[in-house]
């Protein structure tokens, strides 16, 4: 199957790309990491997450989905996983790159980690490449070209998930 850039890049969220400068993203990440350590862990409300997803104009099977603003690869949602869980029989990468994505549903920016799911060959469904805030390999924490399965026992690449780490404070 051709890796079609028209499919990859022609999405509605492209206009969000210039929303936030690089420096403010990085400053925000620093604040979140610092601030979050002072707070107790909030309970996870899976129902509200599902609700938020269904409120989104795009589904987690769509490349347009808000959390995917800096993803590069096959969406695990199409491969037997979800937007934040790996498909059965694969292993999640312990290392990841990050993005800062705007959730139109609540008007907030979120820090998202992109983890690869590893140990099977490419799932070959829902290829999605978006590059908001993506940086070359000399800034690896923002680079989506690397094989982030590199530190797994089995480094083969299967698909990619996005995991909300927290709100990006302004």
């Amino acid at each position: 199957m051709m890796r079609r850039f028209d499919r990859l890049f022609e999405h509605s969220t492209r206009s969000l790309a210039q929303r936030t400068s690089r420096r403010s993203l990085l400053a925000s990440l620093g604040q979140v990491l610092t601030g979050a350590a002072l707070l107790p862990l909030l309970p996870i409300d899976r129902a509200s997450r599902a609700h938020a997803a269904s409120d989104s104009p795009a589904s987690p099977e769509s490349c347009d989905y808000w959390k995917y603003c800096a993803i590069d690869g096959f969406l695990c949602s199409c491969c037997g996983g979800t937007s934040s869980s790996c498909p059965p029989g694969t292993a999640a990468s312990p290392i990841f790159w990050i993005g800062t994505c705007h959730n139109a549903a609540d008007g907030r920016d979120y820090i998202v980690s992109y983890n690869d799911c590893c140990g099977k060959s490419g799932c070959s469904a829902c290829d999605c490449n978006r590059n908001e805030g993506e940086k070359p390999i000399y800034r690896p924490s923002r680079n989506n070209d690397l094989n982030w399965c590199m530190a797994n026992a089995n480094v083969n690449y299967h698909c990619t998930v996005s995991v909300i780490l927290g709100v990006a404070e302004k």
Binding site: G80, S85, S124, H158, L165
Partner: protein, 383 residues
């Protein structure tokens, strides 16, 4: 997952909670997990994608015909043979691997995947003799009790390996005198198809060694009307279709195969115009007795052309019940199909353009079409 959690703790990512307190509350942090399969369903289908352009990366997709979602993937290597264990709990995948991906030292191996986790549990390394053949149920087949696994060999000399999937060992090799493939029946018979139109049946002892062998009378003519090797399980054995549309229903329940009189898929006016054709040429709902065959108009040499229609038969009376054309559904030619064995059956249909269509097997109504299900969907299996 353990290492993931360790890394997350190091980064304090489990503490990255939402900070904004204004309504609505921010989305909570998420925790990366690995999905578990739901309980097995009769509406699951194992879709074999041969990936013809990149054959070293063949795979099996597990797909759910109720949720219309892919559930997972089993990797399948190069020139794959595969089958499910009789209890449906295991997928056996025999493939060839190379030390340098596309070249280098060859390893033939059967790998066993636990169908409840989609993880490989163990493997059996084979001699480098595995038949690298077109898809079908008889390249790699379990004995009906699951005790033995038979692997067809072709070098091009024909034989087969007897494997013990429980112990993970090769028990032996049995020469088949030019006859090919492994058609399992009873305890423990393996039949092979011969160019003469006969079946060779080798009976094994409980240790997997040859106890006896017998050759049947011819039941088809490889010159005038050969049978497809893609046999279909029936309640008492297997049916084989011929290129010209004869149905050979073979009872394998006794020591010697018994051949019912063949019947034709075609009415008089259809002979010579319509014929079956696909990579997987028929599916049978065993308890309802419904037979589904991809059919097309065409002559000699078109036996791999996919079906433009699916014809539905009552397997007991040989009556044709329906013709379901694909074009009105927006579907291309049918190259593989399978029917679930439950009382509310689904017919799964794979097409030359890589579509996977989910039909109500009783009415022919299309329930769902997956547009890009696979690159080369050559076989569909269900437990």
């Amino acid at each position: 997952m353990r290492s993931t959690q360790l890394f997350c703790l190091a980064l304090s990512c489990t503490l990255l909670a939402a900070l904004a307190l204004a309504a609505p509350p921010p989305l909570p942090v998420e925790h990366l997990t690995v999905e578990r399969l739901p309980a097995r369903s009769p509406h699951w289908i194992y879709l074999y994608d041969e990936v013809f352009d990149n054959e070293i990366d063949a795979r099996v997709y597990l797909y759910d015909g109720d949720s219309n979602r892919r559930l997972g993937q089993i990797n399948a290597g190069f020139y794959t043979s595969l089958n499910l264990s009789p209890d449906g709990a295991t997928t056996a995948v025999a493939a060839t691997y190379f030390a340098r991906g596309t070249h280098g030292a060859r390893t033939d191996v059967v790998e066993f995947t636990d169908n409840s986790t989609l993880e490989v549990t163990h493997e059996i390394v084979l001699p480098s003799k595995r038949a690298e053949a077109g898809p079908g149920l008889f390249n790699l087949a379990y004995s009906t009790d699951g005790r033995f696994l038979y692997a067809a060999y072709l070098t091009p000399a024909a034989s087969f390996g007897v494997l013990d999937p429980g112990a993970g060992t090769v028990l032996g090799e049995i020469d088949t005198a030019g006859c090919v493939l492994v058609i399992p029946s009873g305890r423990y018979r393996v039949s092979s198809l011969c160019e003469s139109g006969r079946l060779l049946t080798v009976t094994l002892d409980p240790q997997g060694h040859e106890a006896s062998r017998a050759m049947s009378e011819p039941f088809f003519d490889a010159d005038s009307d050969p049978v497809f090797v893609q046999g279909v399980p029936t309640n008492s054995g297997y049916l084989f279709l011929s290129f010209l549309g004869q149905v050979h229903d073979i009872d394998f329940s006794a020591a010697e195969p018994h051949f019912a009189a063949p019947w034709s898929l075609l009415a008089a006016g259809e002979q010579g115009h319509w014929r079956p054709g696909a990579y997987q040429v028929a599916a049978l709902h065993k308890s309802l007795g419904r037979l589904y065959v991809p059919m097309h108009e065409g002559g000699e040499g078109t036996h791999k052309d996919g079906g433009t229609e699916i014809w539905v038969y009552d397997f007991a009376t040989h009556q044709r019940l329906a013709r379901w054309p694909m074009k009105p559904q927006g579907l291309s030619r049918v190259i593989a199909l399978q029917v679930s064995q439950d009382p509310a059956p689904i017919l799964f249909v794979a097409t030359e353009n890589g579509e996977l269509a989910v039909f109500d097997a009783l009415t022919g109504r299309v329930r769902h079409i997956e547009k890009h299900a696979a690159q080369s969907p050559w076989m569909l299996l269900n437990p």
